[in-house]
């Protein structure tokens, strides 16, 4: 069962991620990114992180990506035109990436080969209650700081996006 779920949603995630990269239209990329996020959210659920999963949907898929789509619509960004890639990408891009991925996977295999198994329901620490507890006791200061960060971000966004008064 766990295998089935994992493989299914991992497949969806990877396919949509590939889609994000290869699609030439921003909207298409955005939608596939939403797909990635959704499937990742399901994987979170499987990993016992209910709250985070929902937050993932609400924050990422629901708010951030909406912003993206907004901007794309506002700028009416069309499909990307093909042109000669920059030399870095041409020469190094693909091989470097493959090497990168290979190395990482190798290390994961080496370090975490027997890091234990994920079985649905073997970890129930991700309930809204426990997350909230951790957030408001051990991580209170970071939490506050983050709120300040958000505030500043809002101000910055407003300042940047408002039309000049002249």
């Amino acid at each position: 069962m766990d295998y089935f779920f994992f493989l299914l949603f991992a497949l969806i995630a990877v396919v949509s991620a590939v889609n994000v990269v290869v699609q030439r239209h921003p909207i298409a990329s955005a939608l596939s990114l939403i797909g990635v996020m959704g499937s990742i959210a399901v994987l979170y659920l499987a990993l016992g992180a209910e709250f985070i999963a929902m937050a993932q949907i609400i924050v990422y898929a629901g708010a951030v990506m909406v912003l993206f789509i907004f901007v794309i619509m506002l700028l009416n960004a069309g499909a990307e035109e093909r042109r000669g890639r920059s030399w870095t990408a041409q020469l190094l891009g693909a091989p470097v990436l493959v090497a990168f991925l290979g190395m990482i996977c190798y290390f994961i295999q080496r370090e975490f080969a027997n890091a234990g198994f994920m079985k649905f329901g073997n970890f129930s620490g991700g309930s809204a209650q426990s997350v909230g507890l951790a957030l408001f006791t051990d991580y209170l200061l970071p939490f506050e700081v983050t709120s300040v960060l958000i505030l500043i971000a809002i101000l910055g966004a407003i300042v940047l996006a408002r039309k000049e008064m002249d």
Partner: protein, 396 residues
Amino acid sequence: MVFFIITLIKIAIIAFVLLTVLAYLQWVERKVIAHVQVRMGPSRVGPHGLLQPLADVIKLITKEGVMPPHVNSFFYLLAPFLAVFMALISISVIPFGTQLTVGPYTTWMQLTDLNVGILFILAVSSMGVYGIALAGWSSNNKYALLGGLRSSAQMISYELPMSLAIASPLLIAGSLSLREIVNSQAGYNLGFIPKWLVFAGPFPQIFSFIIFMIAAFAETNRIPFDLPEAENELVAGFHVEYSSMTFASFFMAEYANMVTVCSIATLLFLGGWHPLWPVEYGSNFFAPLILFGAGAICIYHGLNPARPLDRYTLPVFGIVFFGLAGLMLFPPTVPILMPLFWFLAKCGFLLFVFVWIRATLPRFRYDQLMGFAWKGLFPAALLNLLVTGFLVALAS
């Protein structure tokens, strides 16, 4: 295995009932508005136009779906499906009543009970924007685009006060699972005031209820917040380019959202399926009484009919009502039907309010809409949440 079968059965039932309800909701709306405006409303197709929805459905299905040129066909077709999907999926966590025992099997009148149910609904509703936004964008039409942008902006803006208004009753209920929340509202203060979150708790949630309802109107793009589909400025906004079934699915989505929102309001604030006054004061006999009354009226009008057809239709309704009333008095079914009845009654009342408001209020201006969201509703919700949290902390 049994679990799957039961779930499938439940899905089938709920889907069927829900879709029918959606179809008839529209009939109710037309009827109510008609009577508010002193008209007859649909009355040709079937007795009192009762078959009107069926006719509409057939019409919409059989019509030709026109796809305008230069649209991005994939997104153009994806949008309505997204919309209706997101609208329908949130029903799956809503409990309609208590446990239900059929032979050896007992189950809840609910598809599934997430213990983050509320968050789930919020998440889905936040996803609902995409359908509309995409529809607006992909149909390659400036009115549609404006409508799409407007509606997504509006939905995002009103999601905040909505979430905040939802959060404060959660503080009191102390759970995110809808079932738990409803259970926490059982019982009565002083023996007759129900422990609903609207009344009960350290701080009555009446304000958050009002805020929630207002935000709900905006979330479902209903009058007075229906700017995305403002006929007379945007020529129906984001779905201007849609026809036949795609158009119908947007409609379905809107009504499904209404149903969802109303049932959430019922569950969160109005005590779900708990009756309005205790059983020992005979709340169980309320429903049959109404039905008997309705039946009696139908019979009476049937005996001296205003229109020729009434001679046959109304008595039939009367019989049906009598039958239902009897069923509600029949002891084995009472524990199942009573909760269902109360839930549907509250939900239906809220839906009626929706229609009523639509028949009553004019439309906002767009800047007014946004200003109201950010300058009025949001601070109010925030304040309400603060006060609630403070009092809850004091009470605990």
